[in-house]
C-alpha cells in the first residue's frame, strides 16, 4: 500500500490544478486569477462569520439549558416536599438529560472556536499570498508579453491554486461540522424551546419521559433522588421527624 501522503498529494494536486480557471485571452488570465483569489478571500471572511454565528447560537443554547436545569432542580425539590417522588424522578431524569447535552455543547463550542481560529489563520495566509501575487503580476505584466508573463508567474499561480483549494476544503469542513452539530442538538433544543422539557404536568408515562428514562438509565438519577429525599425529608416538619434527629445525636457522641 502506498503512503497516505503520496495518495493524498496526488488527489490534492488534481483538485488544486482546477482551482484557477484560465481566461480565453491569455492577457486577461492573470487578472482573472487575481479576481478569483479575491473572491475566495471574501468566501473565507464569510466562513469565519458563519462559524462565529453558529458558536453564538450554541452559547445561547447553553444559557437556556442552564436555566432549565435550575428550574428542574427546583421542581424536583418541590415535588419531593409534596411527597411526589414520581414527579421528582421525572424532573431529575430530564435534568440529567440536559446535563449530558450541556457537556456536548461545551465540546462543540470549543471545536467551533478551533475552526474559527484555523479559518482566521488561513485568511491571513491567503490574504498575504494574494497581495504578493498582485505585485508579481504587475511587475511581469510591465516587463513581458502576456504569454511570457504567464509562464514567469506560473509557479505563483499553481501555488495560489493550492492555497485556494486548501481554504476551500477548510470552509467545507467547517460548514459540515456546524451542520452536524445543529442537527444533533435539534431534538433536545426543540424540547427546551417549546418549554416541554420543564413541563411536568404532562400525563405520566408520556413518550417523552419514557425516552428520557431510557436515555438516562443507570446514571446518577437514583443517587440524586435519594440525596434529595434526605435533604427535603429532614426539613419537613413531619411527625416522624424524631427518627431523623437520631443520627445528629449519634454524631455528637464522639466529642
Amino acid at each position: 500500500m502506498a503512503g497516505l501522503m503520496s495518495r493524498f498529494t496526488t488527489l490534492f494536486k488534481v483538485k488544486a490544478n482546477t482551482m484557477l480557471d484560465k481566461a480565453e485571452d491569455p492577457g486577461e488570465t492573470l487578472d482573472y486569477s487575481y479576481t478569483q483569489q479575491l473572491e475566495m478571500l471574501q468566501k473565507v471572511k464569510r466562513g469565519v462569520a458563519d462559524v462565529v454565528t453558529a458558536k453564538k447560537r450554541l452559547q445561547l443554547q447553553t444559557a437556556k439549558l442552564e436555566e432549565s436545569i435550575v428550574k428542574l432542580d427546583g421542581q424536583a425539590r418541590q415535588a419531593m416536599a409534596g411527597n411526589r417522588e414520581d414527579l421528582a424522578r421525572t424532573a431529575l431524569e430530564r435534568k440529567s438529560l440536559i446535563q449530558g447535552q450541556l457537556q456536548g455543547l461545551d465540546t462543540q463550542i470549543s471545536q467551533l472556536e478551533q475552526q474559527q481560529q484555523n479559518l482566521v489563520d488561513q485568511e491571513r495566509r491567503l490574504s498575504a499570498k494574494v497581495e504578493s501575487f498582485r505585485t508579481q503580476k504587475e511587475v511581469v505584466k510591465a516587463q513581458y508579453s502576456a504569454a511570457e508573463a504567464q509562464v514567469r508567474i506560473g509557479e505563483a499561480t499553481t501555488g495560489l491554486g493550492e492555497e485556494m483549494s486548501d481554504v476551500g476544503l477548510a470552509l467545507q469542513r467547517a460548514q459540515d461540522k456546524t451542520e452536524q452539530m445543529q442537527a444533533r442538538a435539534a431534538a433536545v433544543n426543540e424540547l427546551v424551546d417549546t418549554g416541554a422539557i420543564d413541563d411536568l404536568t404532562a400525563p405520566a408515562g408520556s413518550d417523552l419521559d419514557a425516552q428520557i428514562a431510557a436515555l438516562t438509565a443507570g446514571n446518577q438519577v437514583d443517587a440524586e433522588l435519594a440525596k434529595l429525599k434526605a435533604e427535603v425529608g429532614s426539613g419537613t416538619p413531619a411527625p416522624e421527624l424524631g427518627q431523623g434527629a437520631a443520627p445528629a445525636e449519634a454524631q455528637e457522641e464522639p466529642k
Binding site: 490534492f12 477548510a170 469542513r173
Partner: protein, 93 residues
C-alpha cells in the same frame, strides 16, 4: 528542501534529511489505515504531523510555493483517510 503542506495549517520547509523519517511515519499511518485500527491511526498520524511541524520551518505568509507533499487536515478521521485510499475522494469536487 521539500515543502510539505498540512491542509488547514499551512506549508512547512523540511530538510531533505528529514524526508526519510517522514516516509517511515507515513508508512505507519498507511498500515494503520489498512488494518482499520482507529487508535493506531490517530497515534501515527499525530506523529507524522508533529514531525512536519517540529522539524520543519513554516513558509512565510506572503511566499507562494507549490508543495512537494500534502497531508490531510489534522482532524482527519480514519474513515476519511480510508476514502483517500479507496479513491472515492476525501477531497470533494
Amino acid at each position: 528542501m521539500s515543502v510539505v503542506r498540512i491542509l488547514g495549517s499551512g506549508q512547512f520547509r523540511l530538510d531533505d534529511s528529514e524526508v526519510g523519517r517522514l516516509n517511515e511515519l507515513d508508512n505507519a499511518v498507511a498500515a494503520a489505515v489498512a488494518a482499520g485500527d482507529g487508535p493506531e491511526f490517530t497515534r501515527t498520524f499525530a506523529a507524522l504531523v508533529a514531525h512536519v511541524r517540529e522539524q520543519g520551518t513554516a513558509v512565510p505568509d506572503g511566499e507562494i510555493v507549490t508543495s512537494d507533499h500534502v497531508l490531510p487536515a489534522v482532524d482527519t478521521t480514519l474513515d476519511e483517510a480510508r476514502e483517500a485510499f479507496s479513491g472515492e475522494g476525501a477531497i470533494p469536487g
